[in-house]
Every structure is written in structure tokens, then in C-alpha cells.
């Protein structure tokens, strides 16, 4: 009996330690195995539809806090990363990194020019959602929510999403990096009607 009890205690302790060890050491190899740091390519002609096409390639890929690298295989290759940990090495961008890359912005905040980033180029960019909301950086300006059109953004102090299409009922189809539990995709959202959200525009589109 005593031996059995000792076995159970040992088993439980081992199980707990195993769980703790796994959580503390969680990481994936996605960034290390797939992502690169290649230079961006300046590009002069870019349309809103072209930007939307770039955004759609991130759909069904993952979400990574502080991330900015994804492939195009329509699945999250690093599901269920621990939240708000930039070191987990997973696939996807977060909301502001996704916006930076889809808007083809420059790491030089004084430049409003367009930069083409490869899908697997690991880049987040200097802006948080709050910085986008404030119109920080040369390419970004605040815009009345009634004036927003396709690929403009709705930003709060903690989140940003891009307008894919406006719905007749006043809501929008938003393409966004939504969170670790959801990944990146298109959802109907009510950001436009929320006082926490403001309109933001990337300037300089060709059409």
C-alpha cells in the first residue's frame, strides 16, 4: 500500500514538473526554420486591391505576438502559442505587424514610400496599434470614420484591423490578425461604431 502511494505521489510530481517544463520552454521552430531577414524592395505602384490581395494571403495563417512572418499554406503552423510572448517563434503577425506589412511601410518612419516585404520576411515594424491610431509615422494619417474605404484601418489603443468591405448594416468585414485563439482572417466587426476606434489611412495609394 505504502509503495503504491509512493508511486502515485512520484507520478503526480513528475507529471506536474513535466507540464511546468513544457510551458516554460514553449517555442516553435517556425521562425527559425522558415523566416528570413532579406531587404525589402521599394515599389512605386501599389493599389488598395493589391494590398488586399497581400492581406488575404495571410488568411488562415497564425498569429504571433510581435511577429511578422507567415507562409501561404492556409493553416497555422504554430497553433496555441502562449499569449503575449514574442519569443515563442510562431507563425503569423500580430495586429500592428500585420498592418505594417500589408500596408507595405518602411522601417524608416520618415519615409512614406512603399516597401515590398516577402511573406517569410520576419518584420513587425515600429508601430503599435496605439501609434497607428495616433497617425504616427510619415505614411499614416488619421481620417474620419465616415470617410474610410477599402484597406483603410480602424484602430484602438490595443488593436487595429483593416477594412476589407463595408456591410450595408454599418458593420465592416475586417481583415485582421485577431489573436492567438483565432489567427488571421476576415470577420464581421463593429469597430466603426465603437468610440474606442478611430480611422487611420495609409497614404500614397496608386488607386
Amino acid at each position: 500500500m505504502r509503495r503504491a502511494r509512493g508511486f502515485v505521489v512520484t507520478f503526480v510530481v513528475a507529471a506536474i514538473l513535466g507540464t511546468v517544463g513544457t510551458a516554460a520552454a514553449y517555442h516553435t521552430r517556425f521562425v527559425a526554420d522558415n523566416c528570413n531577414y532579406a531587404a525589402s524592395t521599394p515599389t512605386s505602384y501599389i493599389t488598395r486591391d493589391g494590398s488586399a490581395a497581400v492581406a488575404l494571403r495571410a488568411r488562415y495563417e497564425g498569429y504571433q505576438w510581435a511577429g511578422g512572418c507567415w507562409n501561404d499554406n492556409d493553416r497555422d503552423d504554430s497553433p496555441n502559442d502562449p499569449r503575449e510572448d514574442p519569443a515563442t517563434g510562431g507563425e503569423g503577425g500580430d495586429c500592428s505587424g500585420f498592418t505594417f506589412k500589408v500596408w507595405r511601410e518602411s522601417l524608416d518612419q520618415s519615409s512614406a514610400g512603399f516597401e515590398q516585404w516577402g511573406l517569410l520576411r520576419y518584420v513587425h515594424g515600429p508601430y503599435t496599434a496605439a501609434a497607428f491610431k495616433a497617425g504616427t509615422g510619415a505614411p499614416n494619417v488619421t481620417v474620419s470614420k465616415t470617410a474610410l474605404i477599402k484597406m483603410d484601418a480602424l484602430a484602438s489603443d490595443t488593436h487595429i484591423g483593416l477594412i476589407y468591405a463595408a456591410n450595408p448594416d454599418g458593420t465592416d468585414q475586417i481583415i485582421e490578425a485577431k489573436g492567438e485563439d483565432y489567427g488571421t482572417g476576415v470577420w464581421t466587426r463593429t469597430y466603426r461604431g465603437s468610440s474606442s476606434y478611430s480611422g487611420v489611412r495609409r497614404t500614397g495609394w496608386s488607386s
Partner: protein
């Protein structure tokens, strides 16, 4: 966020090296803080293992309900009006940056307004705002802000929160040519700033930090690596 500890005897060697690097270069300790007040040495305690180039940041703690209307703190509360402030409002002034930190009434968020020399006056004094998520009272991410704040010479200024240990009373941040000293207050994370260790390509910043107890004893030395996120 990641924290890289500098352990044991390495701490002293590293800090001495960092201090020596500061003293040997052309950097001169700044004569004033960002608000124009003279830069002073901390008077409360002799801080262990730190060179004599310390500059004390100033701190003011005001209750949310007593924030005077015409102050920058009031402007910050208006700017962050989506987050109802509760409890103490901590105003910190350093060499390159000024910040305000407070909790929101839900108890789940920590808010900061950041300001640097090149920030405007009037309506747009604050060049950055940060919202941190609290889980069981602990900050999940240091909320690095390096997008909007610049020195008068147009160099970027990075801000982040440090969550000090329980016994910590002073947080020191190594800067080129001097060490900035922040006093812990009101149980809130400490909003620190730097103009060094900023990696614009990777949108990251590294802060060289030591924490000290009330008698100035060194408790830990580490590098805080923070990434722009969310």
C-alpha cells in the same frame, strides 16, 4: 519580452565595464532633465556597484481625483479617456523622457503616456501611449514604445515598463555616459526610457538594468529585451 540576467561576479564586472565605457568616451553626463530642471545625484542611498555618474529621475505621485486640470497629467488622462483612471498617477521625469503611469478601473490594464523633447506642446504633448495587460496583477509585456518619441536631435527614444522585484526600491538604467535612477512607487511598474540599445531594423530595444533595495544593495542585474508588439 525577455530578461537576460547578469549573474554573480559577472554583475560587478559588467557594470564596471559599462560605467568605464561611459566615462572613457566623449559622453558627458547631462546637466538637466527633459523639463529643464538641473540633473541631480540621488540622495537617498549609496547604490552598490554603480559608478558615480548617477542621475536621479524625479517622481510625483498624485491621486487620480486630484489631478489639476491644466497639467500634462490631466492631458494624459484625457488622451487615455477610454481607460478610466483609478488610484495613483505616477509622473516621472528623466533625461530623455517623461512618462505618466496609472491603472484603469477594471484592474486589468496599465496605461502610460510618453513624452520626449521633440514632442509638441499644446494639444499633442504626448508622443506615445501604451496599454499593458495585467494578469493576476502582473504585467504581461513591457509595452515597448519607440515609434513617436524623439530627442531634440531627432534620435528615437524608447520607453518600456519594468516590473521590479518585491524588495526593489530603485531601478537603475545604464545610459551612454550616465546611469538613470528611478525610485519605485505605489506598487506600479516603472516606466523607463533610453536612447541607446534601440534596434530599428528589428523594432526592439535592450535596456541595461540593475535593481537595488532601500539600502542601495544590488539585488539583480539584467538586460531587458523588449519588442514592439500589438
Amino acid at each position: 519580452m525577455s530578461i537576460r540576467p547578469i549573474l554573480g561576479s559577472l554583475a560587478l564586472a559588467t557594470l564596471v565595464a559599462m560605467s568605464a565605457a561611459g566615462c572613457a568616451g566623449d559622453e558627458q553626463p547631462p546637466a538637466q532633465l527633459i523639463d529643464g530642471t538641473p540633473a541631480r545625484r540621488p540622495s537617498a542611498a549609496a547604490l552598490e556597484d554603480i559608478a558615480n555618474d548617477q542621475i536621479a529621475t524625479t517622481i510625483k505621485v498624485v491621486d487620480t481625483r486630484r489631478v489639476a486640470p491644466a497639467t500634462r497629467a490631466a492631458q494624459c488622462l484625457r488622451r487615455a479617456r477610454d481607460h478610466a483612471a483609478v488610484g495613483p498617477v505616477v509622473v516621472r521625469v528623466g533625461v530623455n523622457g517623461e512618462s505618466i503611469t496609472f491603472r484603469d478601473s477594471s484592474g486589468r490594464s496599465l496605461i502610460a503616456c510618453d513624452r520626449a523633447a521633440a514632442s509638441g506642446e499644446g494639444r499633442v504633448v504626448w508622443c506615445g501611449i501604451a496599454i499593458g495587460r495585467l494578469e493576476d496583477g502582473r504585467l504581461q509585456d513591457p509595452r515597448l514604445d519607440l515609434a513617436g518619441c524623439r530627442t531634440a536631435a531627432a534620435d528615437p527614444v524608447a520607453f518600456a515598463w519594468v516590473e521590479p522585484g518585491r524588495a526593489t526600491r530603485y531601478v537603475m538604467v545604464r545610459q551612454p555616459g550616465f546611469t538613470e535612477v528611478y525610485r519605485v512607487a505605489s506598487g506600479l511598474p516603472v516606466r523607463i526610457s533610453t536612447t541607446s540599445g534601440i534596434d530599428r531594423e528589428m523594432s526592439r530595444a535592450s535596456f541595461q538594468i540593475t535593481e537595488h533595495d532601500g539600502d542601495g544593495r544590488l539585488l539583480r542585474a539584467y538586460t531587458l529585451d523588449a519588442s514592439v508588439s500589438g
